[in-house]
């Protein structure tokens, strides 16, 4: 284990702070590491209760690797461990988190990434953040410190509360410790680039490729270029490269790994090249502000024809990845219009301004009711992250 990793157990202090907030009847905003997206100065306050300032619960200080045994393929870390530190500790043992946790700011924490349910380019091929979570510890809204799941690969005792936390954005409790499955790093990796006439052509190719037993581990389409990453044993990557370049239309990109890293961390030009998206949001920014673009993440079935979404933006306003299942759009369209398109193809959308989540597909009906009931089950006093 790397000596330079910070190692501090603040869990009992975090439990105390939650209990204190309960006693004072104060709401809590959980703040992780890098993005500081939840700090009040960075957040579009809701107009409804301007007087109610939530207590900020800083959780990133609770950090470090609790246990890591490479042959067990399991790592247990405190929430505040940064993605950078975690990745390098695993890399020392030739292992990785196959869902490729993004590291947007350099100080992003594993707790934040799990709470947001974020996965990188490998997601459709290697699985998502939730697929790799085996267990976690949680402080719920009653100030109880609970442990769910464990460090073993298979565990069906009790409800799967661990995976329920992934993407819950801290609304059900404070995650203090996470056990995840890790895997050996692939022996070899190669990126193949080919020109395409349209996004729909690339989707067609990607959908077809993913039904073949090829070791595809990432894919994207920007403008008239399609990129496919192959990962696995030397032999498999070699064979698949041949398959993908057989018709003469594809070439190997030696710098491919740089592209995927930039895409994963949203450092790619599509994300950074527009000041509207990259800049600090003005306090008045909302997704409907005219003239300023919102970055929309559309999560749709991979086979969705791009032509079904085309009227939301011209071809260069889109970046497709995950074999077509994750599509980024820069747009000034109204949220309602985006949601409607997403829903029509069986997907959902969320909007970001300056890396802060500002809009999210609303829930309806029984689904919404069950969400409220579940929130109630974990956090009866509505302590955590009210803003969500």
């Amino acid at each position: 284990m790397a000596d330079n990793i910070h190692n501090t157990d603040l869990s009992s202090s975090l439990v105390d702070q939650v209990k204190a907030a309960i006693a004072d009847n104060k709401a809590i905003e959980i703040v992780g590491g890098g993005s500081k997206s939840n700090r009040p100065d960075n957040v579009t306050r809701q107009q409804s209760d301007p007087g109610l300032e939530p207590a900020i619960l800083e959780v990133a200080g609770n950090c470090g690797i609790v246990s890591y045994e490479p042959t067990e393929l399991v790592v247990t870390v405190r929430n505040g461990t940064t993605i950078a530190e975690l990745k390098s500790a695993l890399a020392e043992q030739g292992q990785c988190l196959p869902f490729e946790p993004p590291n947007y700011t350099g100080a992003d924490t594993i707790g934040g990434v799990i709470a947001c349910g974020l996965s990188g380019p490998a997601r459709p091929y290697a699985g998502s953040a939730r697929d790799y979570v085996l267990g976690l510890r949680l402080i719920n809204g009653k100030g109880e410190y609970l442990r769910f799941g464990g460090e073993v690969m298979k565990n069906v005792a009790g409800y799967d509360v661990s995976r329920l936390q992934v993407g819950a954005r801290g609304t059900l409790g404070v995650i203090t410790e996470i056990s995840m499955k890790v895997l050996p790093m692939p022996q070899a990796e190669r990126t193949v680039v080919r020109d395409v006439a349209s996004h729909d052509e690339s989707i067609g190719i990607l959908v077809k490729e993913s039904r073949k037993p090829l070791p595809v581990s990432a894919s994207a389409c920007i403008g008239d270029q399609m990129m496919v990453r192959l990962s696995g044993s030397e032999a498999a990557v070699e064979a698949a490269t041949d398959d993908l370049t057989a018709d003469g239309a594809g070439t190997v990109d030696e710098q491919g790994n740089l592209f995927w890293a930039a895409l994963c961390d949203q450092k790619q030009e599509f994300f950074t090249g527009h000041s509207d998206l990259a800049g600090k949001p003005r306090s008045s920014d909302t997704p409907t502000d005219p003239g300023t673009e919102t970055l929309w993440r559309m999560s749709v079935p991979d086979y969705t024809a791009q032509s079904e979404l085309a009227d939301l933006g011209s071809a260069d306003a889109w970046l497709l990845e995950w074999g077509g299942a994750q599509r980024w759009l820069r747009s000034t369209s109204s949220p309602a219009e985006i949601y409607q398109h997403a829903e029509a193809v069986g997907g959902h959308a969320s909007g970001f301004k300056a890396q802060v989540l500002v809009a999210d597909q609303p829930l309806t009906g029984v689904n919404q009711h069950l969400h409220q009931q579940l929130k109630q089950a974990f956090d009866p006093q509505q302590l955590f992250n009210r803003r969500q």
Binding site: M153, V156, G158, V161, L164, K208, P213, S299, N367, A377
Partner: protein, 511 residues
């Protein structure tokens, strides 16, 4: 589970309370319920005579039996909704049942409730080879999905040994695994969307054909929830391309410890096999006698290690595995020469339960999961327990995943032997918890492991589980009494153990 090759074991626990007044009242309620449900269901979908109810008295855990008020076999989602609305109005317990192969009593009927069988939901609604998914009804058999996908070069990855019989709805309810889960994941990793009917009869879609959905990950929460939160009425599963090459290495070792070590070393070498299974000598002998598959019966331990992928990749991995096994003192190594031989070698493993079942009148299957590194310790302690209780144990083991299946051999006709077996099973599960593992890797808690839940979880955690249950099912009509013990039950279980002597694990949190 206890499975008895003989049709019925006489001293199986009948959970029926044979109070005569209750019996009379129950007959009355049976009639009323049948009449009420006949408003929405055709007569042939309502079973109420003794003979008709008989086959539904237990699931794969035949030691537990119970007669339900009625069995209903709806044919449409609307009928399921109507049943649930009626159950909510009348506060009647509802137990869902797929194929009834469950090993933890999850589908054990409730004496005052209806058993909702999904056997008639047996159609594959859509198989989309281009987009790699299938939409199926919950009663479809696990293997039927792969059979239907096969002509398109696709398959459904999770392959429980019971796959010829068990239903996909049951798989979702148990988050079932199989021998190929090491590489391809459990049910939760291979299901993308569910349609469920809630306790109060509403239809809800959970998940989607996209990579994720807005809101909480209810798909993960519902998977493995043992019929406690909702009734699954439709499932979308991922279909994967059949790997062009799959090869099986069979290696034997002089001791189970050596084999266990080899498992860790394969993984340390950066190889993730498609399946990695371990059997000890009693299991090898039983499987060989049953399936005549060519296992060396004098081996102390046997590993089946399957590698799949592109030809070149598999060849490279076989080389790697051969080297690791050699370094770990393998006694012999053999690579299946033909596809027939590969399938035959798997058949031995997949029929290990019934095979072991022939060694004794009855067997009881344990399902604990442990950190792999504790395998030698756990095996040693199990040997001691086996001696202490005077009961033989055969071991088959999803070694790659750390999921143990010790099979305790016993004879339920010997007075007290079932009880001793259950106690031994419980001790083994507690051992699993003690070394940092869990009481169930894939068979679920059901009725069987309800007491051991008190060992694994503290009071607050159990209350959190109950709160989740309440969020979905405020009246508690779905599969009542299963999966999550009441605190009172735990108090009684704890008291019993203290009474028997010293506390099993004083270092564990309890109350």
């Amino acid at each position: 589970m206890t499975a008895s090759p003989q049709a019925s074991s006489p001293d199986a626990h009948d959970v029926n309370l044979a109070d005569p007044t209750t019996q009379v009242e129950r007959e009355q309620r049976r009639k009323e319920a049948a009449a009420a449900l006949a408003q929405w269901l055709p007569q042939h979908s309502i079973l109420q005579s003794r003979e008709e109810l008989g086959p539904y008295e237990s699931d794969g855990l035949t030691a537990l039996k119970q007669t339900p008020l009625l069995v209903v076999l709806p044919e449409t989602i609307e009928q399921v909704q109507a049943i649930m609305r009626w159950a909510t109005e009348t506060v009647t317990p509802v137990v869902a049942r797929g194929a009834g192969t469950g090993l933890s009593g999850g589908a054990l009927p409730h004496p005052d409730g209806i058993l909702l069988g999904l056997a008639k939901f047996n159609r594959i609604l859509e198989l989309n080879p281009e987009s790699g998914y299938a939409v199926v009804q919950p009663g479809v058999r696990n293997l039927a999905i792969s059979e239907a996908a096969r002509p398109h070069g696709l398959y459904y990855a999770p392959d429980p040994s019971s796959q010829i019989a068990c239903s996909i709805g049951g798989n979702v309810a148990e988050n079932s695994g199989g021998v190929h889960c090491l590489k391809y994941g459990l049910t939760v990793h291979n299901v993308t969307q569910l349609k469920v009917v809630t306790a109060d009869g509403q239809l809800l879609t959970i998940g989607s054909h996209a990579a994720d959905s807005a809101g909480y990950d209810l798909l993960a929460l519902l998977t493995g929830s043992e019929g406690m939160l909702a009734i699954t009425v439709e499932i979308t599963v991922k279909l994967l391309p059949v790997p062009p090459s799959a090869r099986l290495v069979m290696a034997t070792f002089a001791s189970v410890e050596d084999a266990g070590l080899a498992v860790g070393e394969v993984i340390a070498a950066g190889i993730i096999p498609a399946g990695l299974e371990l059997m000890d000598n009693p299991a090898i002998r039983a499987a060989e006698a049953f399936a005549k598959c060519g296992y060396p019966v004098d081996a102390a331990a046997l590993l089946l290690c399957e590698l799949d992928g592109l030809d070149a990749e598999v060849a490279a991995q076989i080389e790697g595995v051969n080297k690791v096994f050699n370094d770990c003192n393998a006694v012999s190594q053999h690579i299946a020469n033909t596809e027939e031989e590969r399938l035959l070698l798997w058949k031995g493993r997949k029929s290990a339960f019934p095979a072991v079942g022939r060694l004794a009148p009855d067997y009881y299957c344990i399902d604990g999961t442990i950190p792999r590194k504790t395998l030698p310790e756990v095996l040693r302690k199990m040997d001691l327990l086996s001696e202490e209780y005077g009961l033989r144990i055969a071991n088959v083991f999803h070694a790659g995943d750390g999921n143990l299946h010790p099979l305790i051999l016993f004879d339920s006709n010997q007075p007290g032997e079932l009880e001793r077996t259950e106690e031994l099973g419980s001790r083994i599960l507690q051992l699993c918890v003690e070394v940092g593992g869990t009481i169930t890797g894939e068979h679920g808690v059901g009725m069987e492991k309800i007491n051991e839940m008190c060992v694994q979880f503290d009071e607050q955690t159990l209350l959190q589980f109950h709160a989740i249950k309440h969020a979905f099912d405020p009246l508690g009509i779905l599969n009542p009494g299963k999966a999550i013990p009441t605190l009172q039950r735990c108090a009684e279980f704890g008291a019993m153990h203290v009474h028997n002597g010293e506390l099993p694990f004083p270092e564990l949190e309890r109350y």
